[in-house]
């Protein structure tokens, strides 16, 4: 996650630099009294690179997808890792495997 943040930060910095370059280019165009017909190639390359880095950060930083299937490995391990499970009245069941079997049957 730290790496994702760093890459996202670098991507944003590149975008800021591209914005600064564009502002300078526009100032130059105003001096030479030319019209803006498109960004220079280096700005386009910088923006593409910044966008790529930010895309990578956007896909990795928020976290991993979690499995939603009820009988997947992760959920099963979670169920079996709790040895002391009480029912509604607060009584401990006689054996752990009974509770788990009942859960799996329902």
């Amino acid at each position: 996650m730290g790496l994702g943040f760093a890459i996202g930060f670098i991507g944003v910095l590149i975008l800021f630099h591209a914005a600064y370059s564009t502002i300078q280019y526009r100032t130059l165009l105003k001096i030479t009294e030319e019209e803006f017909s498109g960004s220079p190639l280096n700005v386009v390359i910088e923006l593409s690179l910044g966008l790529l880095l930010c895309t990578w950060a956007a896909l990795t930083v928020p976290g991993k997808f979690l499995c939603i299937l009820p009988h997947s490995e992760e959920n099963r391990i979670l169920l079996l890792s709790e040895p002391f499970i009480y029912d509604e009245v607060g009584r401990q069941p006689q054996a752990d495997h009974t509770y788990v079997n009942d859960l799996l049957k329902s």
Binding site: V43, L59, I68
Partner: protein, 120 residues
């Protein structure tokens, strides 16, 4: 009908046309939806800045946004390792959800970046 498991997460039952009952972990589903929302919102903002700096106006900007969201959907599908039904209940979650909410952020930052780079 909700069933309590040991971890405290709830399961939901949903039915399709053939009356088959499918259960899924709603808590994990919500977490996955949040991830999609954050990813799309952040990329909409970045896309708006890029469109503004490039000087896009009118329809060009919206076409750029559509392409960006399509690319994002592809990235999300790759992140889910191309097995969508393991992490979501339908393809619409990955392909369409968040498209319109990101559009507002895109337009805001597109206008902002265009003004800074080309007008002021």
């Amino acid at each position: 009908m909700a069933v309590q498991s040991g971890s405290g997460s709830s399961e939901k039952k949903s039915s399709n046309g053939e009356n088959e009952l499918l259960t899924f972990n709603a808590e994990n589903m919500q977490s996955n939806m949040k991830i999609i929302y954050y990813s799309r919102t952040f990329l909409s903002i970045i896309g708006g800045v890029v469109a503004g700096i490039l000087g896009f106006t009118g329809l060009k900007g919206f076409v750029f946004y559509s392409l960006l969201m399509a690319f994002t959907s592809l990235g999300l599908i790759a992140k889910a390792k191309f097995s969508i039904h393991t992490y979501f209940d339908s393809w619409n979650r990955v392909l369409i959800d968040g498209f319109l909410s990101g559009l507002m952020s895109f337009v805001l930052f597109w206008t902002f970046a265009y003004d800074i780079a080309h007008i002021f």
